[in-house]
Subunit: 373 residues, 2 copies
């Protein structure tokens, strides 16, 4: 796995029972995954020779993010390495313009959108879509980074991406009830499984809480979201986990917002809450092993991200919390605590959604130092 | 953790989400745990200097077996290292004579037993208990090794331990309905949790299948087994996981057979079947972190050991099996397959015990090469 972040870190424990050799290419020896994976290679994932050396020791190459240059991945494929997901699929998670064009061509539902080169073009788009308009950098955005809402021509003029000279697209601001996520896994020979569709509760563009399954989502709507995700996976030839983030619009539409081709934050609940976790199914998929049962084990599972807060030293509050709630599942990413940084998550499983949300959000806030009891 | 076997290997994934640094002392660089734990120290656990060097890099020392000499552990404690469980507790899992004396003194129920020095003494014991008599080496036995049934004076004369000159005890052969196991975890300040009592199905003295909870065990009998295990843990000052293997005698008694002070084969079901696994609770206990919920997540969980069979290469059957049963949980120990060696286990969770046993035992037999479909 290229990338030493928390996704690689959480993939490592899934490889152990499967009996798989699992290695990581990390940027730094203290990266989240490097702490727990033997033989981690510290190298530069932007350097083709480094990637090639790493790949030479692996049967299959996969990724904990989408930042490896597409050209490098094509070179590796040309050299005969198994790259999963492959560059032709992965580019759709790297480039929002390519993704929108491809999904539109396949008849998959997206917000209305256009490439825009300057603020004047944003105004022309707004004449059709109406203000506000969402501006996104075509490459490099995640967790709310690279997204701006322009409410007027003045906003568009001031928007950072135009000042930075990067490629931009403009989208309608969807009036949505909530954000959903449909996580699927797909193997090279086309087997696929779909996890229950979840609600992703966001704050400032960052997923803070996941409710699995999405409460009150009608069965036909959930099936539609799963069908969209499975269609995207098949259409794009995805191998591994694909997360399709969707808007549930107030007018009834389900619209694709973003794609991620790797285990995803909206699937972290599956470690404790599903028969087979997204991390295990990602490994099974990229190795073309049969996929595991994606079903939920309890009526509800709630996951809340833990962000770095005021507490530089979380161990005392960690101890208190484990004593307070013996059923709480805590997942630390081995990262230095910095304000706003995702440093872990907590999960609880059970029947009473109200109670589960209280427990999980209390735990996260307590670990963040936002509350003191 | 001293020892690089499958117990250390299965402890490693539990340390990751807890955010703990986990290191292993292994005899060989390809030991089960060494394959998955970074920074594994290859050294000799029988050499005090090796143990001391390893301990110097750790906050707490714990074990994946009971074979470290008691004297070494006392030296490490005298040097100020935290040894958990400590030598005063661990000796009861190392020396069956010490264990029997201590449990008898504490009024805990055991089979009737005596130290015996020679076959003549066995005959004197048999005059009281009746033939057959069980002979056990006081030290070094596990998985049916070090246990003989003497049905006559002739058997006693031929018994290996007398010929080898090692210390031996004689016990009544308990007429039991089945074998049970009560697994508990206890922390230094005395917090303890008890897992559901399981049935351990044995063949040739080796646990082959675990049914959790033990089917048809009345609630008061289960509570009695848990009370016995919690009493043993408290009485002996155990820190970490303690497995108490019990006979459910036909005359109604629950009798302590063996003790293990580490995660135990009869607790492997907890990885997939309990809210908190025995491996996680062992780590929490030895670090004096609050213990996690030991409850089962499903009405039944069945675990079956996979023994090395005729199949030198298990990958093809592994693939078939994953395709056949997407809900099956497979755990490989990363060991070379040798006939009769425990090389992994499989677990299934659900409601229908008959169905679960069929699925788990089919899977194990198929992986062993005992059946071909």
């Amino acid at each position: 796995m290229v990338g030493g972040g928390q996704l690689a870190r959480m993939t490592a424990p899934a490889a152990v029972p499967l009996g798989l050799g699992f290695r990581v290419l990390a940027a730094r020896p203290d990266d989240a995954a490097a702490q727990v994976v033997p033989g981690t290679v510290v190298a530069d994932e932007k350097v083709l020779a480094d990637l090639r050396d790493f790949a030479a020791g692996c049967d299959v190459l996969t990724f904990d993010h989408e930042h490896v240059p597409t050209a490098h991945l094509r070179s590796l494929e040309a050299d005969g390495f198994a790259v999963r997901p492959g560059p032709d699929a992965l580019v759709h998670a790297q480039d929002k313009g390519v993704m929108r064009e491809r999904l539109a061509a396949a008849g998959l539902p997206c917000p209305r959108w256009r490439h825009v080169d300057d603020p004047a073009e944003v105004c022309r788009v707004a004449a059709g879509l109406g203000w506000p308009v969402v501006l996104k950098t075509v490459r490099g955005g995640y967790d709310g980074k690279g997204v701006w809402v322009a409410r007027s021509a003045e906003d568009a003029v001031l928007a950072e991406p135009f000042r930075a000279g990067v490629a931009v697209l403009a989208e309608e601001l969807v009036d949505f009830r909530r954000e959903l996520s449909a996580v699927v896994a797909r193997s090279p020979h086309g087997q696929a499984v779909a996890y229950p569709v979840v609600e992703s509760v966001q704050a400032d563009g960052i997923c803070v809480e996941v409710l699995a399954p999405a409460p009150g989502l009608p069965a036909d709507r959930a099936a539609e979201a799963q069908r969209i995700a499975l269609s995207v996976a098949a259409e794009l030839g995805v191998v591994g986990v694909l997360a399709v983030e969707l808007f549930e619009a107030r007018d009834g539409r389900l619209l694709v917002n973003e794609l991620a081709m790797r285990p995803h934050n909206t699937g972290h609940w599956t470690i404790d809450g599903a028969v087979t976790s997204q991390f295990e199914n990602h490994l099974r998929a990229v190795l073309d092993l049969p996929l595991g049962d994606p079903r939920a084990r309890d009526p509800y599972t709630v996951m809340v991200n833990v962000l770095g807060g005021d507490l530089a030293e979380t161990y005392p509050s960690y101890r208190h919390l484990l004593a307070r709630d013996p059923g709480l599942r805590v997942h630390w990413y081995g990262k230095q605590v910095r304000p706003g940084r995702k440093v872990g998550h907590v999960t609880v499983c059970g029947e009473d959604l109200y109670d589960l949300r209280e427990r999980a959000s209390h735990a996260a806030r307590y670990l963040q130092g936002d509350i003191d009891e």
